[in-house]
Symmetry: C2
Subunit: 317 residues, 2 copies
């Protein structure tokens, strides 16, 4: 079995199990699902794991979505200019967010940054330009895959925020499109590259911990204020996932670094998992405290349990 496919098979299993609506999970046929997830797909081009493209001396970059995380990407890219990178364009459906980002960039000396704002398909215009090498995507989760596909299809390398996909099908689309276009598509799981995480990775690889047999990881972040906010997430998109899905919706901050220490896809791989969620009370209780004109005021019956734990076994044990 091709290792690249193997990788995706597992990544896909995650996305699928983690992203399915609770109602689906309650009714699924496990055997059928596992079979579907683990089925090999024919390759559509040269593998892209280890893909090398010609060096780009100054990476011409666009950022789609600059309301929250994307603002930071724009800031960082601009900080690399003019030597390493050039910020060519920023885009957001909310005019105010693009304006705030543009004002900041101008205050830092940025020039010639194109602005795409207020239009549903401004991001497509960005992808169609031929003076951009890299597109960074920091939009609501459900937009990640379509935008990444479109950008690759228009010859762009892609950095896409976590998660890169919400379904197995979308994972395959990303792989197939990367193979067809020979473009890099990287999920921006920045936590893997934090100082502490790399320090621990170095220790793990140096054998400081002896035989690694077990690891725990977590990403516990109380986002209720932001999720219920009427302005922070565009159209309160994030809380909507919690209405219908019960799973580890955002697992890679915790899991990514640990997967590195355990040598996942570098000698070991995930091959079994089981997940259990707790009672949901936090969202129902918070919903009662927000402003009465908030769409989620007094809402109850959120699907997402307050805490979700997943046990994962690797091939080595």
């Amino acid at each position: 079995m091709n290792s690249r496919r193997h990788f995706l098979r597992n990544a896909g299993a995650f996305a699928a199990l983690l992203g399915l609506p609770a109602s689906t999970i309650a009714n699924w046929n496990t055997e059928e699902l596992l079979h579907r997830i683990s089925k090999e797909k024919p390759m559509t081009g040269k593998p892209v794991i280890g893909l090398r493209v010609d060096p780009i001396e100054k990476v011409r970059t666009a950022v789609i979505g600059v309301g929250n995380r994307g603002f930071e990407h724009a800031r960082l890219v601009h900080a690399l200019s003019p030597d390493k990178a050039e910020l060519v364009a920023i885009c957001d459906i909310r005019e105010q967010k693009v304006k705030e980002c543009a004002d900041y960039l101008v205050s830092k000396g940025a020039k010639n940054v194109s602005i795409y704002a207020g239009k549903e398909d401004g991001w497509k215009e960005v992808c169609k330009r031929d003076d951009i090498d890299l597109v960074l995507i920091a939009t609501p989760w459900e937009n990640h895959t379509p935008m990444a596909l479109y950008a690759m299809q228009h010859g762009k390398h892609v950095g896409v925020e976590v998660p890169a996909a919400l379904t197995v099908e979308d994972c395959w689309k990303l792989v197939n499109t990367a193979e067809e276009t020979q473009r890099n598509c990287m999920m921006l799981e920045n936590v893997c590259y934090g100082e502490e995480e790399l320090w621990l990775l170095n220790m793990a690889e140096s054998g400081v911990f002896g035989t690694l047999t077990y690891a725990e990881c977590a990403y516990i972040h109380d986002l209720r204020e932001l999720m219920f906010s009427k302005t922070y997430y565009y159209n309160q998109w994030r809380i909507r996932h919690h209405l219908v899905k019960d799973a580890n919706l955002y697992p890679t901050h915790g899991l990514g670094p640990v997967a590195q220490y355990m040598g996942i896809d570098r000698g070991d791989r995930f091959n079994h998992m089981v997940s259990m969620s707790s009672l949901q009370a936090g969202l129902d209780e918070h919903a009662a405290t927000v402003e009465p004109d908030n769409e989620f005021y007094g809402k109850t019956g959120f699907a997402h349990g307050d805490m979700v734990n997943t046990l994962i076994k690797t091939a080595k044990g």
Copy 2:
């Protein structure tokens, strides 16, 4: 359904799932096992949950097994004498251990403590005496149930170290015998009564934590030195369990206090669990470091993973 039975049904499920040899677990028919575990048994006497017996002004006590934990029980009982308790007898198959304990007690002013040593069934002689109210059992795990049953059958109240039983059948025997004899049989899970644990219980019951939806607990204790020791555990009994069983072998230190906070069997109950163990390397690696005349020197293939995690869901969620 009688709540007393309900309680045992769940306790029994635990003991069975946690105490089965790994080889059995690999081959079990889950449905069959769950059915067997959850089957109601006919009652054999008056319920003993909430059992009240006449107050005993001075509790005449015997301790069976004084090598490790039992030494401490003997010490504590003697500390309550002469006002609250009287230590009547101590018993251990190892003469040296009984001698050490007796010497200590004498040094603290104890008198008239009977000694039972060096005989396989010394403990039966203890249980047959009619001048004893309470028998404390601190012997190897596999002896707990037979000794507790025998003591109750001879009219004694029983305090038995963790775990009280290793199989579902033994759980039922304990309940049935307690009902038949109307004797108290208490598992000595001391951690539930620690200062910190009771402090947290008080906070939980006072609502300091709001709605409790999730709890984590653990008992992580590197016992390798003691388990491999040729002298600490009689006949190295404890490491032998790790040769053949893979499970949470000693779960109540962690789970007991949390179960109190969650109101288990006081409004909620455990109703679903799944368990996963890690790779085993710790025991194999340690076995290579002990003395060559140790029975476990160089032994490999221990069944018990280095770390075992169990997810448990309660009826409330």
